[in-house]
């Protein structure tokens, strides 16, 4: 960037959104990187490229957090589950909704007046092929455009000032069960987007489109031949060694990889210095492991790719041959932290399978993998030399076979943590993690594949771990020591993305509808407010006119809304016994509302 450009970029920051539209793409990215470092704005889903969900704003502190209160609210007019959170770019806030995937641009100078609203026309037949409610995890900003990933997999670029469609492209085919739920990420002159549909046998992929015109730059599949994976058999590595030829094909029977899942519906992060993007792939399809022998690579995998070419630098598969639906799509947090006393450029990932993985993000070396919920029992540990989990036969649904009900597996399919992203504080060096505390019985059975029909093949029942009745915890986690520092029990799974402030306040939402602020030192509750509905959205922070605000979407739904609306099944609840299950529907009803808080 020339000095002149830099000055210009700063001028753009100062002037908010105005002027951003005219920038060149490559410059726009540097502009975006700068904007993401400005704590007043929240310009990408996780706050910054490293996926920290951290704010440097200092007005809200552990001392005054009890004086937080809602200052304005906004109803989205949509009922179903509201995941993700708003962006703040200059003076504008962008709020998205689940299907029909509306986007609102709100003017922060005028109490959230609607500057423009966009509602795509989509075939409602996409609704029933969305596995777990019609959620959407948010929009992305870059180059003066707002990028929306619709349910029907259309990626549309809207003019951030006017909401006018600049271009739109169809990423995949909902008739096959492919849908769009994830938030895109703008990296340099491209916008990256994943795909959902692991329950429909979709062959997962991440695709980069040129932000200028929506033309496809590259597409990388999660399974298939090397040219579809964008693997260089000699240069792409796993556990420090080249992956070799046909690394994926060798781990599937016949053509099964074509309907192999490994969808990419989670979050993407980016390290500008290493020029690598990171994301995870989901479960192999079907959920019946006996039907798909082999490691099913590269489902359940962390990918590190070059954003310019898509070529993979390294990969690491967390759960080879999944037997429990432990998708590997959770966020990859890029943090420079101490691991066993040594400072590392780490990638930290709290996986569905209950292990917190710490890898060297340049090389993919596995540094550590420890349980972040003591209930986790499906594996004793992860072998750091082979990278493989040591699976306990009693909880192996493959070992026990199809048509056998394997009982007491922890965590349940929804994982010790699902997509709800954790936060990292560079001040404390700790991670603040929303978790599920649920176990399951899992019975696989044979299914046949029909395009556009669910390809699941397992019956599940879920319940709290034996002797406990809290279904979630909000925890502080230390990767240096590989241990939980403190843990706040919650009656329901914590299904909202966390936020942590430089001053030492951590925020999260609960399924029964509370926004909570806790002290990062000890987890002590500082403030809570009951929003209109259960929270599965992510908490964000921004500053406007000199004041710090906290914003969160409430609106219960998602997988949590399916599993818990009527309460979980009690394991031993054979015949109408009054079980230990709790009904979420006794606490909250549907409806999307944004609530904005501040301290006066």
């Amino acid at each position: 960037m020339t000095t002149k450009n830099r000055l210009f970029a700063w001028a753009v920051l100062a002037a908010g959104l105005s002027g951003a539209v005219g920038l060149r793409p490559a410059v726009a990215n540097e502009e975006l990187e700068k904007m993401s470092q400005d704590p007043k704005q929240w310009v990408m889903p996780a706050g910054n490229y490293a996926n920290w969900r951290f704010t440097e704003l200092k007005q809200i502190t552990p001392e005054n957090a009890h004086r937080l209160h809602p200052v304005w609210t906004f109803s989205t007019g949509v009922l179903r589950g509201h995941e993700g959170g708003p962006l703040v770019v200059g003076d504008m806030m962008y709020v998205h909704t689940p299907f029909p995937n509306k986007v609102f641009a709100l003017d922060l100078n005028h109490d959230g007046r609607i500057v423009w609203a966009y509602e795509p026309k989509q075939d409602p037949n996409v609704i029933p092929v969305m596995c777990c409610d019609t959620v959407n995890r948010g929009v992305a900003y870059g180059d003066g455009k707002i990028f929306l990933h619709q349910a029907d997999t259309t990626l549309v670029a809207l003019d951030a000032k006017t909401g006018k469609v600049i271009w739109s492209v169809k990423d995949d085919d909902p008739a096959k069960g492919a849908t769009g739920t994830s938030a895109p990420l703008v990296v340099k002159d491209k916008v990256l987007v994943g795909v959902s549909g692991g329950e429909f046998g979709v062959q997962g992929h991440v695709t980069a489109y040129n932000i200028k015109d929506g033309s496809m730059a590259w597409r990388a599949y999660s399974e298939g031949p090397d040219d579809q994976l964008l693997f260089d058999p000699e240069k792409t590595t796993v556990m420090g060694k080249p992956v070799g030829k046909d690394s994926s094909l060798k781990t599937w029977e016949g053509d099964q990889w074509k309907i192999g899942g490994g969808t990419t519906w989670g979050w993407i992060s980016y390290d500008p210095k290493l020029n690598l993007v990171y994301y995870g792939s989901g479960n192999p399809s079907t959920w019946n492991p006996t039907q798909r022998p082999g490691d099913n690579k590269w489902s359940m995998t962390v990918f590190a790719r070059d954003p310019d070419t898509g070529v993979a630098k390294w990969v690491y598969q967390m759960t080879p041959h999944d037997e429990w639906d432990y998708d590997g799509i959770n966020e990859m947090i890029l943090a420079d932290v101490k691991v066993h006393g040594q400072q590392r450029h780490a990638l930290v990932h709290f996986d569905r399978n209950g292990f917190a993985y710490v890898l060297d993000r340049a090389t993919g070396e596995l540094l550590e993998a420890n349980k972040f919920d003591p209930a986790v029992n499906w594996a004793t540990k992860v072998d750091l030399t082979t990278g493989r989990p040591e699976v306990v036969p009693q909880y192996s649904t493959d070992h026990n076979g199809a048509d056998h009900n394997t009982k007491g597996i922890c965590p349940a399919a929804l994982g010790s943590k699902d997509e709800q992203p954790a936060a990292f504080s560079p001040v404390t060096g700790l991670f603040y993690v929303p978790t599920n505390h649920v176990c399951m019985d899992y019975e696989p059975y044979k299914v046949t594949y029909t395009a556009g029909q669910p390809y699941v093949g397992a019956t599940l029942s879920m319940y709290p771990p034996p002797g406990e009745n809290n279904l979630g915890n909000f925890i502080a986690y230390d990767v240096n020591e590989g241990k939980i520092v403190w843990s706040d029990p919650e009656p329901f799974s914590v299904w909202s993305g966390a936020l942590v402030t430089a001053t030492g306040v951590a925020f999260y939402g609960t399924l029964d509808g509370y926004l909570k602020a806790v002290d990062v030192k000890n987890g002590k509750l500082l403030y809570k407010f009951k929003t209109p509905s259960g929270i599965i959205g992510n908490v964000n922070a921004y500053e406007h006119n000199g004041k710090e605000y906290i914003a969160v979407l409430s609106g219960v739904g998602g997988w949590a809304g399916i599993g818990m609306a009527a309460g979980l099944t009690n394991d031993t609840d054979g015949l109408g016994a009054v079980g230990a299950y709790k009904s979420l529907s006794n606490y909250t009803q549907l409806g999307g509302v944004l609530t904005v808080f501040s301290v006066e």
Partner: protein
Amino acid sequence: MTFSISAPICARISARALLLPGLALAALLIAANPHPAAAQAASSSSQNQGASQSAAPTDPERPYIVKDGRVDFHTFNGYRRYGDNCLRCHGPDGAGSSYAPDLTDSLKHMTKEQFEETVINGRKNVTTATENVMPAFGTVPDVVENLDDIYAYLKARSDGVLGRGRPKRLDGED
């Protein structure tokens, strides 16, 4: 024997198929491809007429057998098929989710015919206020062939004779 189970629906479906071409396929599939497990269960039940274990339910109002929390094969099969095709919207045990109705409640008010008609043809309720779509299962053999069993399971749940969770089987195979 297997056929007598699905024949009445089959006839209805064929009639409807005149109106909805897609459904003809479903009817054909039923005719051509009886579910092997159901066939097995049906034949074993005709062999041990007296044994309560595998006797087929006879009362059309109570299309299930539940004894001490254990269920007949059809009801169990219904539980499983429900899990594969309906649970992701209607929640565990038919108990409803944040966006699809509690079917144990629905069956208190719906006839079997209305139930079948809804599942075969689906229902769209998309307005400015709601985005509810119940998919049409008329061309999904897994559902069409097992609809009697799914109904039996949900009816047992709805009648309050079967609790939540995975039912145990009368034939002792857990």
